[in-house]
C-alpha cells in the first residue's frame, strides 16, 4: 500500500493558522510541544515537518482531529481580531466576550469547511455584491431607509414580506449565513473575508422573528460598511448609547423587512374590513406575514402614523405577551426551527460525499452531527418527492452522479 508522505508546506500553514486562532505565540507552541522555537518557525515555513508523535500530541492538546491538522484545505485567517474590535468596548460581560471569541472561531472553521466543499465539488460561490452603498447627501438616518428601497429594487423583491430573507441572501447575493450558539445578549455578527465574502452569524437560541431582524441588520453592515465587522449586542435592561451605525442598521432592517408601500397597503386592507378599526389580533396576523416581532411591526406602524404614537408602549405596559396572544388568536405555533448550516453547504457536503471526496466520518464532521444523522441527511437530500396523479406522495431516489441525459424514462 502506497502512502503519500505529509506535505510540510500544508502542515506548516495549518499549524500557523491554528496557532493564531488560539492566540498563541510561536514560543508558546514550542513550549507545548517541548521543541525549540526555531523548530516551530521552520515547520510553519514548510522547511521541516513535525514528528507523528508531536502531531498526535498537538491534536490532543488542541482537541482537534489529526485529519484537521494534516489535511490539505483552504485556510481562513482568524476572524476573532476583527470581531473583537467591533464589539462594544463596554457593557459586555466576561461571558459575552468569550462568546464573541468562540463564535468567531466557529465561523472561521465553518468558512473553511465551506471553501473546502466548494473546492471538492468544483463550484465556487457566485457573488452578486453591489458596490458599498454611499450615504450621498441624505441625512444618515433617512439614507438607511433609502438604501433599503434601492436594494430591494436591485434584487427585484418588490414590496412583499421577506420571511425567507435568508434564502434570498444566500442564493441571490452570495452571503454565508449560519445559526450558532451565542450568549443571549449577542444577537448576531457580521464579518468579511477576502476568500469567503460576507459571513453572518445569527443567535440560534433567539426567536425566529429576532433572527430575521438581526439578519436584516447585519445585511445593512454588509451593504454599507463591508470591510468593517459588526457585533450586534442587544441593549439589555439599561440601554447604553447606541452608535449611529447601529441605529442606521435597525432603521434599514425596519424598511427592508416592512417596506412602506406594501405595509401601508396591507394595513389599509385590514382597516377597510373592520368597522371599529384595526385590532391587536389583526396586527398579529400582519406580523406573521412579515415574520417580524409584534413590537417591530407596531413601532413601524407608529413611524408611518398608521397607529397612534405610543401604541406599543401602551400594549407592553398592559402586559401584552406575544406568544400568548398568538395562541389566543388561534394562530398555530411559529416554526422556530431553521437549519444551522446554509442549504447550499448541506447540498455541497452530500454531493462531495457522493463523489467519494469525503469519508462518512468527514461528512458527519462537516455537517456537525453524528454518522447516523449524516446518513439520514444523505438519504433526504438525494430524494425527490413526487405526487402521483391520484394525489399520493412518495419519494423518488435520484442518483446525484448520473447526468440528466442518461436518466432512463420511466
Amino acid at each position: 500500500m502506497q502512502i503519500e508522505p505529509l506535505n510540510p508546506k500544508i502542515l506548516g500553514q495549518r499549524l500557523q493558522i491554528e496557532r493564531k486562532a488560539r492566540g498563541l505565540t510561536q514560543q508558546q507552541l514550542a513550549n507545548l510541544l517541548r521543541v525549540a522555537r526555531t523548530t516551530i518557525v521552520a515547520v510553519e515555513k514548510g522547511e521541516r515537518t513535525l514528528q507523528p508523535e508531536e502531531i498526535a500530541r498537538l491534536a490532543q492538546a488542541w482537541e482537534i482531529s489529526i485529519s484537521d491538522l494534516v489535511r490539505e484545505r483552504p485556510a481562513v485567517e482568524p476572524l476573532a481580531p476583527q470581531l473583537r474590535a467591533a464589539a462594544p468596548s463596554s457593557g459586555l460581560s466576561k461571558n459575552d466576550v468569550v462568546g464573541v471569541n468562540q463564535t468567531a472561531e466557529t465561523l472561521r472553521q465553518l468558512g473553511e469547511n465551506y471553501l473546502e466543499l466548494e473546492s471538492l465539488v468544483g463550484r465556487p460561490m457566485t457573488q452578486n455584491y453591489p458596490p458599498p452603498y454611499s450615504l450621498d447627501a441624505m441625512p444618515p438616518l433617512e439614507a438607511a431607509g433609502d438604501i433599503a428601497v434601492r436594494d430591494r429594487r436591485r434584487l427585484d423583491l418588490g414590496n412583499a414580506p421577506l420571511p425567507h430573507l435568508r434564502a434570498v441572501l444566500e442564493n441571490d447575493v452570495g452571503l454565508r449565513i449560519f445559526l450558532l450558539p451565542m450568549p443571549s445578549r449577542l444577537a448576531g455578527m457580521f464579518a468579511f473575508d477576502v476568500r469567503l465574502g460576507g459571513l453572518i452569524a445569527l443567535n440560534a437560541s433567539h426567536p425566529v422573528e429576532r433572527r430575521l431582524w438581526t439578519l436584516a441588520h447585519e445585511y445593512y453592515h454588509f451593504l454599507c460598511d463591508r470591510y468593517r465587522a459588526d457585533v450586534y449586542v442587544l441593549p439589555g435592561v439599561s440601554p447604553r448609547r447606541t452608535s449611529e451605525s447601529e441605529r442606521m442598521a435597525d432603521i434599514f432592517a425596519a424598511h427592508f423587512l416592512m417596506p412602506t408601500a406594501g405595509l401601508k397597503r396591507r394595513f389599509y386592507e385590514l382597516k377597510a374590513a373592520r368597522v371599529d378599526g384595526v385590532m391587536p389580533g389583526d396586527l398579529l396576523h400582519l406580523k406573521r406575514q412579515y415574520g417580524v416581532s409584534f413590537q417591530a411591526l407596531t413601532l413601524r406602524l407608529e413611524e408611518l402614523k398608521l397607529v397612534r404614537s405610543g401604541t406599543w408602549n401602551m400594549l407592553n405596559k398592559s402586559g401584552f405577551r406575544e406568544r400568548e396572544a398568538e395562541a389566543m388568536a388561534g394562530l398555530p405555533p411559529r416554526d422556530e426551527s431553521e437549519p444551522r448550516l446554509p442549504q447550499r453547504y448541506l447540498e455541497l457536503a452530500v454531493e462531495a460525499y457522493d463523489r467519494i471526496e469525503l469519508t462518512e466520518g468527514q461528512l458527519a464532521k462537516m455537517l456537525g452531527c453524528d454518522v447516523i444523522e449524516a446518513r439520514r441527511m444523505v438519504r433526504e437530500l438525494s430524494r425527490e418527492w413526487v405526487v402521483s396523479d391520484e394525489g399520493t406522495t412518495g419519494n423518488l431516489e435520484i442518483p446525484l452522479d448520473l447526468p440528466l441525459a442518461e436518466m432512463a424514462e420511466a
Binding site: 500500500m1 503519500e4 500544508i10 485529519s67
Partner: protein
C-alpha cells in the same frame, strides 16, 4: 480490522456477537477495533416509531468487548503511527488508524466507506452486507431473524445496502421477509 461505520451497523443489528462469530469460509476470524474507533462510535439511534425515535442511546463498549466478539487495539508502533498520520491527510482519523493497522499487520478490513477503500491497496476488504450475507448463508440464520437484524440496522443506524452493491437485491429481499 473493523471500522467505525461497520461497527455501528453490527451493534445496531442486535446480533453483533452472532454476526462476527461466523467464520469467513473456513477461516475463524477475530475482529479488532482501534481505540480511536471506539471513541468515535458512542451511540445508536433508539429507533422505533415513537417520538423519541431519534434519541441517542449510548453504546456500552465494555459489554461489547466482554462478549469476546471484538477485541480492542489501543496501541500502535511508530511505523503504524507514521502511516496513520499520513493517511489522516486523506481520510478521517478512525479510518486512517484502521487502515494503518490492517496494512501493517496483514489483517483484512471491514468497511463500507468508498473513499477509505481507495487507500487499501492489497488489504482485503468486506462490508456490512458481506458479513450479514455470510451470517445468513454460513450460519443458517433464518429469514425472520435476518429480517429483524436488517430492519434494526436501517432503523437504528440509518444504513442500507448501497444502490450499486452486488448484495443490494439480496438485502431488499431479506428485509421483506417476516
Amino acid at each position: 480490522m473493523l471500522d467505525a461505520c461497520c461497527a455501528l451497523n453490527f451493534l445496531a443489528s442486535g446480533y453483533c456477537k452472532d454476526i462476527l462469530a461466523v467464520p469467513l469460509g473456513s477461516q475463524v476470524v477475530t475482529y479488532t477495533v482501534a481505540d480511536l474507533v471506539m471513541r468515535e462510535v458512542t451511540a445508536l439511534r433508539r429507533g422505533g416509531g415513537g417520538e423519541d425515535a431519534d434519541e441517542r442511546l449510548p453504546i456500552d463498549w465494555n459489554s461489547v468487548l466482554a462478549t469476546g466478539s471484538v477485541r480492542l487495539e489501543a496501541s500502535a508502533t511508530s511505523a503504524e503511527l507514521r502511516a496513520f498520520v499520513s493517511l489522516a491527510a486523506q481520510v478521517d482519523d478512525g479510518e486512517a488508524m484502521t487502515i494503518a493497522l490492517a496494512a501493517s499487520r496483514s489483517y483484512g478490513i471491514v468497511t463500507d466507506d468508498r473513499k477509505a477503500q481507495r487507500f487499501l491497496g492489497d488489504v482485503p476488504c468486506l462490508g456490512t452486507p458481506d458479513l450479514l450475507h455470510n451470517w445468513h448463508v454460513n450460519a443458517g440464520t433464518n429469514a425472520p431473524t435476518l429480517g429483524v437484524a436488517l430492519r434494526a440496522i436501517e432503523d437504528r443506524a440509518n444504513f442500507t445496502a448501497p444502490r450499486a452493491h452486488p448484495l443490494r437485491n439480496w438485502w431488499n429481499a431479506a428485509l421483506a421477509a417476516r
